[in-house]
């Protein structure tokens, strides 16, 4: 399963008088792709567009090389969708519901029944499969939604906030399931989430939206490798010091209150920073090496996108 999964070609979506997605361009080919962005950035609109719910005002979307407007029906049979909100038939038993959905995706009766059972065992709800969906707990409902999304064996799985409302244990179980599904190599996954940690744990590629535009599109693995010499500094006075560091050939960003982030080129040693600080009588109060986390990528994207400042706060738990 090589080649791009999703290709956005100047995609523009208008709902009512508002342009929600504004000329998106990019190609996504990761095994598991994270879709990030603050509220109202257009994540759900992009998911809905991939499902063919919205017609583009301009541009195209291709999934596995097929234009969604021209091959919508065929593509939908290859897509599994787990919506964010509760979506099921309350008075149906779990396995009956998943079988129903699999049949609608095109599976013959007997295969649908077999795969419904299989999907229920796979998500860990095997024992509860004959219970009515209305009696399920929140965590079980999330798993049942995942089961209906995978029962027909899609090639692309769209997960909208899959860990919403789950307790830490259930969240870990859900993420492990997503990783297991991803690692089979038979399906590509697109996860839309507010939780940076979820995306970081599962995804190898990230698309970050801001105000309907792509603020960042990056391969997480490559990004991490490229930022191995990533340094965080806290100094008492950054005036002049910042310029001197840049003079050494380092990439440098200031986050206020003396907090600096620096990418050291291969030919620069840390001791040169100490020397500079000494020369300028700057106290280095904290220094640590760290990998470039998704949080940093996200913050950078928010800073760079449209040249605006960071409006979205990232809380300590990684929730936007």
């Amino acid at each position: 399963m090589n080649g791009p999964v999703i290709e956005l070609d100047n995609l523009q979506i208008k709902l009512g008088p508002r342009i929600i997605l504004d000329r998106l361009n990019g190609s996504l080919s990761g095994r598991c792709i994270g879709l990030l962005g603050p509220n109202g950035s257009g994540k759900s609109t992009l998911l809905n567009t991939l499902l063919g719910f919205y017609r583009p005002l301009a541009g195209r979307v291709r999934i596995f090389g097929n234009d969604i407007q021209e091959n919508l029906r065929e593509l939908r049979s290859q897509i599994g969708y787990m919506p964010e909100s509760d979506a099921f038939i309350a008075d149906m038993s779990g396995v009956h519901f998943v079988r129903y959905m699999a049949e609608l995706s095109g599976l013959p009766k007997s295969e649908a029944m077999e795969r419904a059972h299989e999907a229920f065992f796979h998500v860990g709800l095997g024992e509860a499969r004959y219970r009515k969906l209305g009696t399920y707990s929140l965590g079980m409902k999330q798993l049942a939604k995942l089961a209906q999304a995978i029962a027909h064996g899609p090639r692309l799985l769209l997960l909208d906030e899959p860990t919403n409302g789950l307790d830490p244990e259930a969240r870990q179980r859900m993420l492990q399931l997503v990783r297991d599904i991803r690692d089979t190599g038979e399906v590509r996954v697109l996860i839309s989430s507010h939780l940076l940690h979820d995306i970081e744990e599962c995804c190898d590629e990230v698309i970050i939206l801001k105000d309907g535009k792509i603020a960042a599109l990056c391969n997480l693995e490559e990004e991490r490798k490229a930022n191995l010499k990533f340094l965080e500094l806290e100094v008492n006075n950054e005036n002049g010091f910042l310029e001197s560091i840049r003079g050494l050939g380092c990439e440098c960003a200031s986050f206020g209150a003396g907090r600096l982030k620096i990418v050291l080129p291969d030919n620069i040693e840390v001791r040169q920073l100490y020397r500079l600080a000494s020369e300028q009588s700057v106290q280095i109060r904290r220094m640590n090496y760290r990998r470039d986390s998704l949080e940093d990528i996200f913050l950078k994207a928010m800073m760079n996108g449209n040249g605006a400042s960071v409006e979205t706060k990232v809380m300590s738990n990684g929730r936007l």
Binding site: F53, R76, A87, V187
Partner: protein
């Protein structure tokens, strides 16, 4: 390997034909309706007029049965257009109650459960979704209207002989056309009201309201404005006006107090309602509404 030991794998087996997907909705819809014993019992009850009709045709043609029961039928033909009109009218009212039971819950449950987006994210268009849901009602109503009526027509043609079937073939046509109109009208109305109010009880109340309160309003319009056009708001009556013309029954026998509205206006009234229902369904039945909710 046992089912519970298997891990995720993509499906590469046979797929059902695309055109047949909507029948999955119909099959599951019927299955769910017949889960209720009361509904099943009522559906069986709807076949009673058919059995009555069969017996009646048999008695009309069997002199020994007439002698046994000491009944004498006159020389007037008893099995004619009037007979089928009355039979269909009776079945239509029974079918109306069947629709009032089954119709509003069909889509409102999907709205209540936010499951429209699940249906429409599959290889199923909005039209197919609606076709699948309407087919549930169409199947039920067909088995209580035109199918038994056509069977009765066939039995009568067989027992009467002498080319009766060919001479009266237009009655079979009237049965089918009248039933299709009734089924389309009642199904679209119940579905459209459901997507509008999205709450089963309210949709059922509105269903009765549109048919009976509008009729009352029509009476008021006639009385206040001293006109006959208020009849156009009486939709069940408009159905009977159209049926009367299809079954070649004089309009004065189906219309009240000589206030006869032209047949074209009855057609126009019904088709306008059907068109409005389609518009309502088209504008309300969307996956993204669920997303916004």
């Amino acid at each position: 390997m046992a089912v519970y030991k298997r891990s995720y794998k993509a499906y590469s087996g046979l797929q059902t034909p695309g055109w047949s997907r909507f029948t999955v909705l119909t099959r599951y819809g019927l299955e769910r309706l017949f889960d209720s014993r009361i509904f099943t019992a009522y559906t069986v009850f709807c076949f009673l007029p058919f059995l009555g009709g069969l017996l009646f045709i048999y008695f009309v043609h069997s002199s020994s049965a007439q002698t046994l029961l000491n009944i004498r039928f006159g020389r007037e033909p008893l099995i004619n257009n009037q007979f089928f009109f009355r039979f269909l009218s009776m079945e239509a009212w029974l079918g109306f109650l069947l629709t009032a039971w089954a119709g509003p819950g069909m889509i409102s449950k999907d709205f209540a459960n936010h499951s429209i987006q699940l249906y429409l994210s599959r290889p199923l268009s909005r039209t197919e979704y609606l076709a699948g849901k309407i087919s549930v009602l169409a199947t039920l109503l067909s088995f209580t209207t035109w199918i038994p009526a056509v069977v009765l027509f066939g039995v009568q043609a067989e027992m009467q002989g002498q080319g009766w079937g060919w001479e009266n073939l237009w009655i079979a046509g009237a049965i089918i056309l009248a039933s299709i109109l009734w089924i389309a009208f009642i199904s679209l109305l119940s579905m459209a009201l459901t997507v509008w109010v999205k709450w089963r009880i309210a949709a059922t109340a509105l269903f009765f309201g549109v048919l009976f309160f509008m009729a009352g309003f029509g009476f008021a319009v006639n009385a206040v404005l001293r006109t006959k056009w208020g009849w156009l708001l009486n939709l069940p009556h408009m159905i009977f006006v159209v049926w009367g013309s299809l079954f070649r029954i004089p309009l004065w026998t189906v219309q009240f107090r000589g206030e006869i509205v032209p047949v074209w206006s009855a057609w126009a009234s019904l088709l306008t309602v059907c068109g409005f229902c389609l518009w309502l369904l088209n504008s309300r039945l969307k996956a993204r509404e669920v997303e916004r909710a």
